[in-house]
Assembly symmetry: C2
Homo-oligomer: 255 residues x 2
């Protein structure tokens, strides 16, 4: 019942999606990366073979999954030989049409999660958003997605790009403020560990209420003296500007 | 073994700290708030009595816990009658000395967590940072803190203010980016629920690795086209400025 899959790309997303598809019984026939070491590292985990020359690509797979930096995708797609199967990209911000110039049956499989090579995640509750340029292709992508997740939704590229934007705010930007917090503590020789219960509770809180309702702290209660004192502790103008910008935005969004 | 405690303030922190101290066997003899309804609402939950006139305060308690907006603390402290016991404030950014003008035995009990009235939290793993102006007072505050938490640390006010700053970044700012993400999705009629596995994983990830190592997304891999496309989706200049500011900061902090 599994499908024959080729991965184009061997980064964070390819690694975790590849492992999930492999574990679900799909066959990962090949892993391409311009860096052969990266291709080999992933291929080894998927009982697959590694290539760094796109012309050597296996032509008879069911799915070709592009898991590349968005900037790199068009150039690699243009170099791809003519193959069987469907071409699928995994980019939140790119339309399905970036592939249709080169291939008839194309689609998107966008898992809404943050992936690192060395941290395994359970795919079963990860929402996967799919799109395709025809219904047979959509069915194939849907069955592939359903082999790993119970949360598969069809979503247009127009909406997907907003979803990707929201994910950047909720994950990457959020994680950056963890990073800045860690930096502040490091200078004072306070271990980051003390923040962990707070970070966990901040995330847990929005599982049951809107983040707007969950907000606390000096900015939302507009405790100006605290904000003034805090901004003076920051080590440079960029951080001070960022502090005011986020604090004012919190206040503007308060209930 | 419990202590007799008076709460000055009936907000989020007073509510959760009051409940924890009450459950741990301390007696909450009185709750003061300038808003008598707020005082009553909390007093009811703590088998306590409510007042809105600071002159009616019970004089023979062991601890007087000030849980007020920082801006309001000095004025209320100045109006307090002479009492027995120790005076304790709960503010991350204020020195212990804001109370010592009015009272001999003073200290700080700062629980590092985000509190809302209607969401109960378990105090046992919440780090509590204490400070006092003499060792007998420190012992009393420590025993009070240990009645509710296993993570009690002595920390100077100099360091505590950096801890509070880090907490604002890791909690309030982080939560604000959840809020902005929710706003982006609302406009597209996509439920906030789809982000929950991502929010959970983003927090879980930093339980085991540094947030700097955990970072993913367009800014850290400097995928300029994605960033350019994303910024165009934002509905106003403030958000666009914020997007670039955070993205550049992510890039500057990348490994």
């Amino acid at each position: 019942m599994g499908q024959k899959v080729v991965f184009i790309g061997a980064g964070n997303l390819a690694t975790q999606l590849g492992k999930a598809l492999y574990t679900a019984g799909n066959e990962i026939v090949q892993v391409f990366s311009r860096n052969i070491d990266h291709a080999r590292q992933l291929a080894r985990q998927l009982e697959s073979s590694a290539i760094d020359d796109i012309r050597q690509i296996e032509l008879s797979a069911d799915c070709y999954i592009f898991a590349l930096k968005d900037d790199a995708l068009p150039a690699i797609a243009a170099q791809m030989p003519t193959t069987d199967g469907v071409w699928i990209h995994t980019a939140g911000s790119l339309p399905v049409s970036v592939l249709s110039e080169y291939k008839e049956d194309v689609g998107v499989l966008y898992p809404l999660q943050t992936f690192s090579k060395s941290r395994n995640v359970s795919f079963s509750d990860i929402p996967i958003f799919i799109e395709a340029n025809n219904s047979a292709t959509q069915q194939l992508i849907e069955s592939l997605a359903r082999s790993i997740s119970e949360e598969v939704h069809v979503l247009s590229g127009e909406k997907r790009k907003y979803l990707h934007l929201a994910a950047v705010f909720a994950c990457n930007f959020t994680n950056h403020f963890y990073t800045l917090a860690e930096e502040i503590l490091q200078k004072e020789h306070i271990p980051f560990d003390v923040l962990k219960p707070l970070i966990r509770e901040t995330a847990d809180k929005v599982m049951e209420r809107s983040p707007r309702e969950a907000q606390t702290g000096p900015a939302v209660r507009f405790d100006e003296k605290v904000m003034q004192r805090q901004v003076e502790l920051l080590s440079n103008d960029t951080l001070r500007k960022l502090y005011w910008m986020v604090s004012n935005s919190i206040h503007d969004h308060s209930l």
